[in-house]
Symmetry: C2
Subunit: 212 residues, 2 copies
DNA sequence: TTTTTTAGGTTATTATATGAACAGCATGTC
DNA sequence: GACATGCTGTTCATATAATAACCTAAAAAA
């Protein structure tokens, strides 16, 4: 079970690797390096055994009796996740959320770079947001080819999301992050991550009703 | 296991209830009402058996041999989730994401209403975004008491998130939605939902690297 | 009516994820 | 250099979740 190419690693482990990476970045910023599974796990709100197990899917990164070097571990996690390189992305939907994404500096720092944005609103087309030009959807094929775009981000209203996803897929984009609160149908060779904020609020409401 | 107050219902079931609700809303908008577990489940990308099981935690909502009434089921799910009432909320952090949240109409439609926003930037204090006034953080206690605020939303930078959460908790807010990419420490009688967009991108990168 | 069909509810099985316990290696100490 | 200590890597038991199979009720057809 130690091969990096093993596909049977739980998705939630991948998710937590991202959490660990973020935590390690902050830890390094504070000028420290040596960190134990205990400390890193607590910072992420998980069990230390789970952290060690998550890492063990991919190899051995610590030193027994000592702990982990934050720098080394971060580098390893980045290699595992693929965040040690740049990922050119396009955005569809330059509304408020789209604006937020285009300006989200933490994405850029991790190598996720928007090379272009798209919208159907003529008032938005031609504008520049955070150095990123807003095109009409028709320009998508050209841009994708030109910049070898691999990730498409959807921040459109619900009812446009599937259509945009289909366009992305048609142009060969294999990774989609969807912020529209609707689930996207897609072939198995395309990876889609959904993020539905509205459901977070539903969950909060549910648990608030039942506190005590 | 059929009591609505049973706390041992999996969190992921609650999450899916939110998905079902959204799907049902769209279904009703198309003017239809009768829907089978098969159709609803497929629209949400889940297994029909899972949908039926999720619902069975809370009672019986369908008619055997027939299906569900979308309207009735939606009403039931809303009562379960607590989205059949209004939830007054406050926002901390009026950056791009904060703006997006204040303008997110789908939240309002579901009863989640921002009554005030807060920021530390003097340039933002006093502004009005989508009819919502931006206050200095010092005003928090007064606003929370005045509007009986039950949910606090964090859209600040990482390093301010914990401090804001502590303020929320100090004022008696029991539900927090955190969009800052850091995990919030909180007592057990406070409910926190985290949403970290950056990790979605990490996951996409991971799976893109391993396609084929 | 009786039969057949349909689709929800329920139980059983399988798969997955978590947490605790322990084995094993590096470091520091006497 | 032997020994004690500390923290990782790994295994295993438990808990949780997903799927499949089955049972039952309602509606439609014969």
């Amino acid at each position: 079970m130690n091969s990096m190419s093993d596909f049977r690693i739980p998705g939630i482990t991948i998710y937590r690797l991202g959490m660990y990476a973020r935590s390690l970045e902050r830890f390094l910023q504070e000028g420290r390096d040596l960190i134990s599974s205990e400390e890193l796990a607590r910072a992420c709100g998980v069990n230390p055994a789970q952290l060690r197990k998550d890492l063990s899917y991919f190899g051995q990164f610590g030193v027994r009796g000592v702990g982990y070097s934050a720098q080394t571990l971060l580098k390893s996690i980045r290699r595992i996740l693929g965040t040690d390189r740049e990922w050119p992305m396009v955005l569809a939907g330059v509304g408020h959320l789209g604006h937020a994404l285009l300006s989200y500096e933490i994405l850029t720092r991790r190598g996720f770079k928007f090379v272009a944005a798209f919208d159907v609103d003529p008032a938005k087309i031609g504008k520049v947001v955070n150095d990123i030009y807003v095109y009409a959807m028709e320009q998508l094929p050209y841009i994708v080819r030109e910049h070898r775009v691999e990730i498409g981000v959807i921040a459109t209203p619900c009812d446009a999301a599937q259509e945009v996803a289909d366009s992305f897929i048609r142009e060969g984009i294999k990774g989609i992050v969807n912020f529209a609160p609707t689930s996207i149908k897609h072939p198995p060779n395309v990876v889609v991550e959904q993020s539905d904020m509205t459901i977070l609020f539903d969950k909060i409401a549910y648990y608030l009703l039942r506190l005590d």
